[in-house]
């Protein structure tokens, strides 16, 4: 039997978990609900709340509740919840733990592996943080795939005719756009672009600001000083936004919002769709600019696109559909629920990794250019921090590229290597994502050759190595965000801490080994042990005995590979007999 790997969409506002069963992908429901709000809180009794209950508590106890944690992933920061400090990874882990429990309840066995989606435009640090969140939750993240790519996988499955699609993914906190070619069972991402901090939350904030201004004007009160009132306004703004997706006007009414100089303040405000669209116009323009950058990256124009796919709850905003229609001249697709599509794609990829026969293959790209800085020229002048791109954006994953550099001083003993992410010819305008030093170089004149190799894996994570060519002296690192990097012990500590928060709620599923032993039955494990034992004896046995043993080992290995445990017994017994005879 294949081991189970679940697909998780860990969203800014909502999260989902999906699985492939009997060749069909579906969202796993919890009490009939497909969506788990990405909100975490601590209740009166110190118990942890995740999802709808935490979301409801936010109105009464905003200081004990955390939402939109995804926006802080990859940053070196702490969030205070009920007086205690948490890292963004830990809060995300709480959501993941809940999703894991939902899936375990559904399949009736423990689950230790997952494919988790991340925004295509998530940086190395943000991806690393997501992986750490998985580990804290007791989930090995076997793969991170990009959200728009996951959606394209769902839309692209089972399509024969070649199609070029544009995936427009606007979620609660992030925006991605990807250009995808679907042909002959291969979903091939041609280019990706996006914005890590643009989403429905920003739309809500615009409405909140509008309400705040209104209250200030009417009553002269600065509402941002009243956390509970602010929480209610935020909720009211979210609701108004949802109403405006269907109606031309929304009524915002909150009675007894707060007390001011002995009299209660009520909020009554009407918001028209037109006013709202004016508020978010800059954001929508930014998405359209990103869309054109993605098209350019794929060397295509608007007329080359056959279909537009809408992903993410924020794409329900009517003016987005209108703008896309104006731009492309046809209606975008949203047949697969924009909230669920990504999790379904993650589950499809998970099934493929678990070895199930899936008829769609995924080829993805990196949206970022990675490189280093070197002594060079900028605008015709010598400049010490010229950006030298090594892996260019929209390169297919995995990829590995090398570049040679030379020392510029005689007898130079060390080279400091900085790695940047970005497009600007001035490295200092790009994001520095890591730095390391190659030391103990040969004492030779300037011109000692150092090769720098950058590799991006399938998860979009960067691995770096530098080598002195003459001696082969090598230094390699994985760029784990240098600032917020978790050491292994810290991760284990965080895991214990989060586990204890959950208390006895799911103690049965806590101690899950993520080793290979889980994926294989006892019989297979024993057979593997036996093979090791036999191989250890090879040096001391006669050729004839050795030949017999090799033949038996081959038979056993074949059985294991074919998954035929019934046929294992006979050769295992024979091999056991030989070993017993040899050892006695």
């Amino acid at each position: 039997m294949n081991e189970i790997i679940i697909g998780i969409d860990l969203g800014t506002t909502n999260s989902e978990v999906a699985i492939v069963e009997n060749g069909k992908v579906h969202i796993i429901t919890d009490d009939g609900k497909k969506i788990l709000p990405s909100v975490v809180g601590i209740d009166d009794n110190g118990e942890i709340l995740v999802g709808e209950t935490a979301r409801n508590q936010y109105l009464i106890y905003p200081e004990r509740t955390v939402k939109s944690i995804k926006r802080l992933m990859g940053q070196d920061t702490h969030i205070i919840m009920a007086g205690l400090d948490y890292t963004p990874q830990e809060i995300s882990a709480i959501i993941l733990k809940r999703l894991k429990a939902i899936a375990e309840k559904h399949v009736g066995q423990s689950i230790s592996k997952a494919v988790i989606t991340v925004p295509a435009y998530f940086s190395d640090a943000q991806r690393q943080a997501t992986r750490e969140a998985g580990e804290i939750a007791g989930l090995e993240v076997v793969r991170m795939i990009n959200e728009p790519t996951a959606a394209a996988l769902v839309y692209g499955a089972g399509r024969d005719e070649a199609k070029r699609m544009l995936v427009y993914d606007l979620g609660g906190g992030t925006f991605d756009v990807s250009v995808v070619n679907v042909q002959a069972g291969v979903v091939e991402v041609l280019s990706s672009h996006g914005d890590n901090h643009l989403g429905g939350d920003d739309f809500d904030q615009q409405i909140v600001n509008h309400i705040q201004d209104h209250i200030k004007e009417q009553h002269g009160i600065n509402i941002s000083e009243h956390s509970k009132a602010l929480a209610r306004i935020t909720r009211a703004a979210e609701n108004a936004k949802l109403v405006l997706s269907d109606e031309p006007f929304a009524q915002i009414e909150e009675e007894y919002l707060l007390e001011h100089e002995g009299s209660p303040i009520h909020l009554t405000l009407e918001l028209s769709r037109g006013d709202y669209e004016d508020m978010i116009e800059d954001y929508i323009n930014a998405t359209m600019d990103a869309l054109h950058i993605a098209l350019k990256g794929a060397k295509l124009t608007v007329s080359d696109i056959d279909e537009i796919i809408l992903v993410g709850g924020s794409t329900r905003t009517p003016c987005i559909r209108e703008r896309l229609f104006e731009e492309f001249g046809f209606e975008p697709h949203s047949e697969v629920d924009p909230d669920l599509c990504v999790a379904m794609g993650a589950a499809t990829q998970a099934a493929m990794i678990a070895g199930q026969a899936i008829d769609t293959v995924l080829v993805d790209v990196t949206p970022y250019t990675y490189g280093t800085s070197a002594l060079g020229f900028l605008d015709g002048e010598p400049y010490p921090y010229q950006f030298v791109p090594i892996i260019h954006k929209n390169s297919v994953l995995p990829t590995r590229k090398s570049e040679a550099f030379m020392t510029f001083q005689d007898g130079q003993e060390s080279v400091n290597v900085r790695i940047y992410q970005g497009e600007d010819p001035d490295a200092l305008n790009n994001i520095e994502i890591g730095e390391f030093t190659v030391e103990d170089l040969q004492d030779v004149p300037a011109g000692n050759i150092i090769t720098l190799t950058l590799a991006l894996d399938l998860n979009g994570m960067l691995h770096v190595s530098a080598k002195e060519k003459a001696t082969g002296l090598e230094k390699s690192i994985t760029i784990n965000n240098a600032i917020s990097r978790f050491e292994t012990e810290e991760l284990a500590g965080a895991k214990r801490r989060i586990d204890s928060l959950f208390g006895q709620m799911d103690s049965s599923s806590d101690e899950i080994e993520t080793s290979d032993a889980v994926s294989q039955s006892k019989a297979v494990a024993e057979a593997r042990q036996l093979i090791k034992k036999a191989e250890a004896l090879f040096d001391t046995v006669s050729d004839e005995d050795k030949e017999d043993m090799v033949n038996l080992i081959e038979t056993i290995t074949d059985c294991i590979e074919a998954g035929d445990e019934g046929a294992l017994q006979e050769p295992v017994e024979q091999l056991n007999d030989i070993i017993y005879y040899l050892e006695s």
Partner: protein, 112 residues
């Protein structure tokens, strides 16, 4: 040595569409998740010859059987002298890419 054409199992006269189809078929059989080395080999071969520009580039500038380090030696003359282009390669270049044909092919692709 294996040329990108051999890796993708296409003739040296294959057009963009044929090369793309061959690439996709190979990727389908060798997804990046299964064997990354093999996938990278296929991907690299495809990027080397996917359109007429890259094919001309390949014929003009490829160094047979050279990896990154060999190129480096070549560039900095650390080990080997610069070798003139082998006459066979030169004739192959003349035969393989007629510039006229490449340009014609391009026009055809665009008009279809």
């Amino acid at each position: 040595m294996t040329t990108p054409y051999q890796i993708l199992c296409v003739s040296e006269h294959a057009n963009d569409t044929e090369i793309k189809q061959a690439y996709l078929n190979l990727v389908k059989e060798n997804p990046p998740d299964r064997d990354q080395e093999r996938f990278q080999q296929i991907q690299h071969a495809y990027e080397t010859i996917k359109d007429s520009d890259s094919r001309i580039n390949f014929e003009l500038f490829h160094f047979p059987e050279t990896g990154f380090n060999a190129l480096l030696d070549h560039a900095f003359k650390q080990e080997s002298e610069i070798q003139p282009m082998h006459p066979d390669d030169f004739f192959r270049l003349l035969n393989a890419v007629s510039i006229d044909k490449a340009v014609m092919g391009d026009i055809k692709n665009k008009s279809s």
